[in-house]
Symmetry: C2
Subunit: 144 residues, 2 copies
DNA sequence: TTGAATGCAAAACCTTTGCAAGCTC
DNA sequence: GAGCTTGCAAAGGTTTTGCATTCAA
């Protein structure tokens, strides 16, 4: 619960910085995202609203996800399709993905050392970090 | 020239593994890619052929790039659009990208330590490495 | 009150695909 | 000759956009 609120503050803070509003729809999208533990995309999230009888539009979802991404509440996930996948950052903590290009299997990995060096790169170039996309592609053992 | 041939061998080797053919078109695409030092995408490469009066089709380019990618001759590059960008691996050696989400500026960085840990992840999960996509998104100093 | 957000529908976009004809090996 | 490759054209599928209306601060 503590984490949940802190996440919400991050989202609100981003909106404030951008002089954007914390509307009913954005709140609903934020809340729905917090209920998800797996990966999702704009469309699957929209479908959830539709199934619940909510009138939140697909476009609103498409427009809100980049804001959640930038605020750090969600992060990019992985998949073989061109589609963009996301997942809640706090669900399992931050991690990256290893993708088998043959069977599409996706493995989550955590590598704190990589995170450390990433942070160094950001600071070396005087960038304020927002997020990153790190996917390793290869062929898994069973596909070889 | 030595490097050039070695690259070509890598490409040929991949084709052989997949029982694919080293056709005239694939050779032409390989050669054209070797002439490029900056980043490109399927379409811009196709345009180059068109401007040269070559009859190589857009589709062939689209179908060949994944093969060059898998053989390691090219790697993914970065951009803000959904479009896929590539660049020759040997042009500047392997590197990754730092992208400013405000102005779109792209900075290339090299971080050998990250590469080392990536290799560890691949071997830990028994994956045969093919390539990776590593982009750091943030806000550059002048945009803040 | 003012600027932002939303829904609708349409557009835009890049990429992929099926198929018949032509090449490679 | 068998199977892969290519060009054509069309489809595909996701994401974006313009605009009028509604809403938040």
């Amino acid at each position: 619960m503590a984490i949940k609120s802190r996440e919400e503050e991050k989202f609100k803070a981003l909106l404030k910085t951008r002089r954007l509003k914390y509307t009913v729809d954005r709140k609903a999208i934020y809340r729905e995202v917090m209920r998800l533990s797996g990966h999702f995309n704009a469309d699957s999230l929209y479908e959830r609203f539709k199934n619940q009888g909510s009138r939140i539009g697909r476009d609103t979802v498409y427009r809100t996800l980049p804001l959640l991404l930038e605020s750090g509440v969600i992060q990019k996930s992985a998949g073989l399709s061109k589609r963009e996948f996301f997942e809640r950052t706090s669900a399992k903590g931050h991690h990256d993905h290893l993708v088998c290009v043959r069977c599409g299997k996706i493995i989550e990995f955590k590598c704190p050392e990589i995170e450390t060096f990433q942070a160094k790169v950001f600071s070396e170039y005087l960038f304020q970090p927002i997020c990153h996309d790190h996917r390793l592609f290869g062929i898994c053992r069973s596909c070889r």
